[in-house]
């Protein structure tokens, strides 16, 4: 009796009860699909965030407070010094001015949208780009400003309306460019950026900066981050701190996978139920086929041969189920990816895990029925037919 013989007999036995085999396989499909789907979606979300980080680079934000609790201020030449650090891709320095941006001079009070004077290149330093309009040089001595994405939404600044007037108190500014959203939704998104040249001339800005934004490739963010405080403040009196956007993003990636364990637990329950389903199918098959088992034993099948036949049936059911489950998991992953707007990521290990789970189900489910079938004395099995 070759393996081909066993396979042919197992397939034949399953074909004899197609509905039952299909339902057991469906149970396996749900279990495997749940596992593959959970892992696929979480790796897709994680992969999307990490991919974003890799392509945009990391933004390091340097600020500090001095011993008396006030905000530490840095001279603008810090920008040029940071620029000389290798691998740095963009630097800008900002200073928060008093007041907030409004849509009209008739509105008073706080809008939550900060007015920042800047030196350097805001877009390249914050990992954003100009989505509408044009960039502004920091030396410009005109009231032409850039606006963060959320601030633009809040003030009703749209591409179509550029250039558009906004106000801070009685002072009018002209928005000429809108920035794209930052990867981690920082204060940048809620700010209006006024060129340092104009702020010095007309808004009481003294040229001292409170924040330096530095963009570096992700791989260098630790190294550059450790160099920044000493580069900007050799004396070390300003108490400068470096905040990495990547840490926020990585935390976000962790959050995205925080429920992975819980969902995997639920998926494991589904797998267990699937195994019980397959086991039930096989136990029924053993009872139903006592006579067949007896005849096969009388014809010369070994105990192992009978057990092997049932285990093969379980493996076929489980593999069919896992194939459907993999497709289901892949579909869920793609839906998740489309929803998140990132490419789907389904590591090969996950697919292999799906197959391994299926084989595990087959083994778990078939051992007991197979042993029972093998233990049937042939004469006993034959008696049921008479």
């Amino acid at each position: 009796m070759t393996f081909g013989d066993v396979l042919a007999r197992a397939l034949r036995a399953l074909r004899a009860r197609p509905g039952r085999a299909a339902l057991s396989a469906l149970g396996v499909a749900v279990g495997v699909g749940a596992i593959v789907g959970v892992l696929g979606v979480s790796s897709t979300v994680q992969g999307g965030l990490l991919g974003q980080l890799n392509s945009l680079g990391d933004v390091l934000t340097v600020s500090g407070s001095n011993s008396s609790g006030g905000t530490s201020l840095v001279a603008p030449r810090a920008i040029a010094m940071v620029q000389r650090i290798p691998t740095v891709e963009g630097v800008a320095g900002t200073r928060t001015l008093s007041g907030s941006a409004q849509r009209s001079e008739l509105v008073s009070g706080q809008s939550g949208i900060s007015i920042l004077a800047f030196y350097g290149d805001i877009a390249s330093a914050t990992g954003t780009h100009i989505v509408a309009g044009r960039n502004v040089a920091s030396s410009l001595r005109l009231p032409e400003v850039l606006i963060g994405s959320e601030a633009a939404t809040a003030l009703g600044v749209t591409t179509r309306l550029l250039p558009m007037q906004i106000w801070t108190g009685t002072q009018s500014l002209t928005v000429v460019g809108i920035l794209s959203p930052t990867p981690v939704e920082t204060q940048t998104d809620l700010s209006v950026f006024v060129p340092g040249g104009y702020a010095r001339r007309a808004m009481g800005f003294n040229g001292q900066l409170d924040t330096i934004d530095v963009r570096v490739p992700l791989a260098y963010s630790q190294t550059v981050g450790s160099l920044l405080p000493a580069t900007i403040d050799p004396s070390g009196t300003l108490g400068l701190q470096v905040q990495e956007d990547s840490s926020v993003l990585l935390a976000e990636a962790d959050t995205a996978t925080a429920f992975e364990g819980l969902f995997l637990g639920l998926a494991a329950v589904a797998v267990l139920v699937a195994a019980l389903g397959v086991m039930n199918t096989l136990l029924v098959a053993v009872v139903e086929r006592r006579a067949e088992i007896g005849v096969r034993r009388a014809m010369g099948s070994t105990r192992a041969g009978i057990a092997f036949l049932l285990i093969t049936e379980a493996i076929i059911i489980s593999l069919m189920g896992s194939a459907v489950g993999l497709l289901f998991g892949l579909w869920v992953t793609i839906i998740g990816a489309v929803h998140q707007g990132v490419p789907p990521v389904l590591p090969a290990q996950v697919a292999l895990l799906g197959v391994a789970v299926a084989l595990g189900i087959a083994c778990l489910a078939s051992v007991y029925p197979a042993l029972r079938a093998a233990a049937l004395p042939p004469s006993e099995a034959l008696r049921t037919m008479a």
């Binding site: 034949r12 034993r297 014809m299 010369g300 099948s301 041969g305 004469s379 008479a386």
Partner: protein, 225 residues
């Protein structure tokens, strides 16, 4: 004297179910190669148990069984299974064909367990069915065959691997006398060296065999008349 094919030495079989029924007690029996033996007796006298033990389907509670020169007690499941597949053929009262297989496939299945490789099985099975007058029935399923035909398929299956021992438990019990006669013809068509052990209630069937063994209450008793 031809060599014995099956020897039962002081075999006792007790079933543990219920009050511990003794189905056979201290039975010794030797069947020589080519010998045709009828086992007769009332229902419950132990005929089926004797046949099951002589065919290795049951193990005795006490005593020794030797089939084809091999002591069963010393054999592994694999060795006994192989012995059963190649050296022993079984025919049952209710035919016990595999219902989902055609006549040809039923016979081919026995050839598979007898160690015949894939392609040769169908040819051999076809020849066997032809020999038993079932050449036109090869692709029929059991439920499409008459009782007599089913039993002849079962005999073809039992003889497929040229066994040393053919065991038939009430082979004509479910058949009308005419079909029964053709089935006995088929049984007696077994090869010269094949020993045949038939349990039967039918005096006509018993009369066509070489020797009669009578069982009563699990004991072998002298044959009257």
């Amino acid at each position: 004297m031809k060599p014995p094919v099956v020897e039962l030495r002081q075999v006792t079989k007790t079933f543990r179910a219920g009050a511990g029924v003794t189905a056979l007690s201290d039975v010794s029996l030797t069947v020589a190669a080519g010998e045709r033996v009828a086992v007769v007796g009332k229902s419950g006298s132990g005929k089926s148990t004797l046949l099951a033990i002589a065919g290795s389907l049951e193990r005795p509670s006490q005593g020794e069984v030797v089939i084809d020169g091999r002591v069963l007690r010393e054999l592994s499941d694999r060795a006994i299974s192989q012995l059963r597949g190649r050296r022993i053929g079984f025919v049952f009262q209710s035919f016990n064909l595999l219902q989902r297989l055609t006549a040809l496939e039923n016979v081919a299945e026995a050839l598979m367990y007898g160690g015949v490789r894939g392609a040769a099985r169908a040819d051999r099975a076809g020849e066997l069915l032809e020999r038993f007058g079932l050449g036109g029935r090869t692709s029929h399923f059991p439920h499409q065959l008459s009782g007599g035909e089913q039993q002849r398929v079962a005999i073809a299956r039992a003889l497929a691997n040229g066994p040393a021992l053919l065991i038939a438990d009430e082979p004509t019990g479910d058949l009308d006398p005419e079909s029964g006669a053709t089935v006995v013809d088929a049984l007696l068509a077994a090869g010269e060296s094949t020993a045949v052990l038939v349990a039967t209630h039918s005096p006509e069937v018993a009369a066509r065999l070489d020797r009669r063994v009578r069982l009563d209450g699990g004991l072998i008793v002298p044959v009257s008349g």
